[in-house]
């Protein structure tokens, strides 16, 4: 093997590494955010990073705990939101139609772009 061949191999490996770095998901893209919208207006946006918190207004209470999010309480008549379970992945959402509240998990380049139901 000539010196030149060796250089080419090294360069190809470097190129491969660069490709891998460029096309693998970056940390910032994977970050999931908890977004709460009331009447279409954003009222809450925090990263889902293990920090436990609660959001509440006069009609709903949303819990963020251990990387999961759920509707703990709502004063609405149908209680669909309270019974709709927990979410933890970008693309998922909880809707309280009567109170016009949406809790949504968002991320740049999320694994999921929506759910049909």
């Amino acid at each position: 093997m000539k010196k030149g061949d060796l250089l080419i191999i090294v360069l190809l490996l470097a190129a491969a590494a660069l490709f891998w770095w460029a096309f693998s998901p970056h940390a910032a893209e994977g970050d999931v955010y908890v977004v709460i919208q009331k009447d279409g207006e954003q009222v809450f946006r925090e990263p889902l990073d293990g920090t436990d918190t609660k959001w509440t207004d006069a009609h709903n209470r949303v819990v963020v705990k251990d990387g999961r999010v759920w509707m703990e309480w709502s004063d609405c008549a149908n209680q669909i939101c309270v019974h709709s379970g927990t979410i933890g992945e970008a693309g998922q959402q909880i809707v309280c139609l009567p109170n016009r509240l949406i809790v949504r998990l968002e991320a740049v380049n999320a694994a999921l772009d929506g759910i049909t139901y």
């Binding site: 190129a15 490709f19 379970g85 927990t86 772009d113 929506g114 759910i115």
Partner: protein
């Protein structure tokens, strides 16, 4: 291999530049314009993956609101409410178009989808969320069922006038959302938006493809999971509409039996075809919406046969034993994510 060292270095440098340009371009710092509104009795979110699409979103929402005004059974001033009250009405172009499509799908599916299902919806209480729901008597059911028949609708396309026999009623609830999605899609396309997700209460249009050129990834709700957000499979879609009908969306339980809102017009009762979820992927959201109901009612064999006979239309069906059936054109674009469900 005999490439000169200099050439190799130049090649490497070019490659590095290309990677830097492609890999760290727009998708890393993606821009989008998104808005959510409560309309069509559900939540509608329109998202364009580009900046400055506010006007397009506003036009689409205005068009959706117009369609809702024309087609809602609950709004007393809507075209449909007037038709149902008087038995005849001059319809707008929109309502005429959607009713015509509804009647077409009814004919295609031998009435499995039927836009005249309103008497049954009313009898069982599914027209109003606040109504107390209970199983009606066999006699009541038979009376209402006899009032459901798409063949008795007279639609005059020249004069845009419809006539219904006494007691009958049209409900476009199983198709109007699909039409609203098609119209929003048209507005996005005409505005030159190449990458967008239109979510009309679970009726989704995947406009174009992702900003990185890959297909959109749309989950299909797990029909038996506790969580509304769980999904059993992921579809890869580009420039396609997807609609799902399931028995989990609106239902009540009486004596341990689940009564859902999708009716078999031959029995007058909630369909019991063994299907618990039917998903249609198509280039036409209006058709997909009506067909998802038709396939749900028809069951696996007849449903798959109907969809296989149609162009640019695919189906994914889940049965009550958690088996999944798919038409050939979608099979390769389905990723199963729940081990409880098995693809047949």
């Amino acid at each position: 291999m005999r490439i000169g060292v200099k050439k190799a270095i130049v090649l490497f440098a070019a490659l590095a530049c290309a990677v830097a340009a492609a890999g760290c371009g727009p998708q890393a710092d993606e821009e989008k314009t998104s808005q959510t509104r409560f309309t069509l009795d559900t939540v509608v979110t329109l998202t364009a993956y580009q900046s400055g699409a506010e006007d397009t979103l506003s036009s689409a929402f205005a068009r959706i609101a117009q369609i809702e005004d024309e087609m809602s059974v609950l709004k007393p001033d809507s075209e449909i409410a007037r038709l149902n009250a008087k038995g005849t009405a001059k319809l707008t172009e929109d309502v005429c178009f959607v009713l015509k499509k509804g009647l077409d799908v009814a004919a295609l599916s031998s009435g499995a989808f039927d836009p005249t299902v309103l008497p049954l919806i009313r009898l069982w209480g599914f027209d109003d969320e606040t109504k107390e729901k209970k199983v009606p008597s066999a006699d009541q059911t038979e009376k209402a069922r006899a009032l459901v028949d798409y063949k008795k609708v007279e639609l005059n396309a020249q004069t845009d006038t419809a006539v219904l026999p006494k007691g009958m009623g049209v409900d476009l609830g199983g198709i109007a959302k699909g039409y609203a999605a098609d119209e929003a899609w048209r507005i996005f396309r005409e505005a030159g938006v190449r990458s967008a997700i239109l979510d009309l209460g679970g009726n989704i249009v995947a406009v174009g493809s992702r900003a990185d050129g890959k297909p959109w990834r749309i989950g299909i709700r797990d029909p038996r999971a506790q969580s509304d957000s769980a999904y059993y499979a992921v579809l890869s879609l580009s420039d396609e509409a997807v609609v799902t009908s399931g028995d989990y969306e609106r239902y009540f339980v009486e004596d341990g039996v689940r009564y859902h809102h999708i009716f078999d017009t031959k029995t007058g009762r909630p369909a019991q075809s063994g299907v618990i979820s039917a998903t249609i992927v198509a280039k036409d959201s209006t058709m997909a919406d009506a067909l998802s109901t038709a396939v749900f009612v028809l069951g696996v064999d007849k449903g798959l046969a109907l969809i296989a006979s149609m162009e640019d239309t695919e189906a994914l069906i889940v049965t009550d034993d958690k088996k999944v059936f798919a038409t050939s054109g979608i099979r390769e674009r389905v990723e199963m994510v729940s081990s409880e469900y098995t693809m047949q």
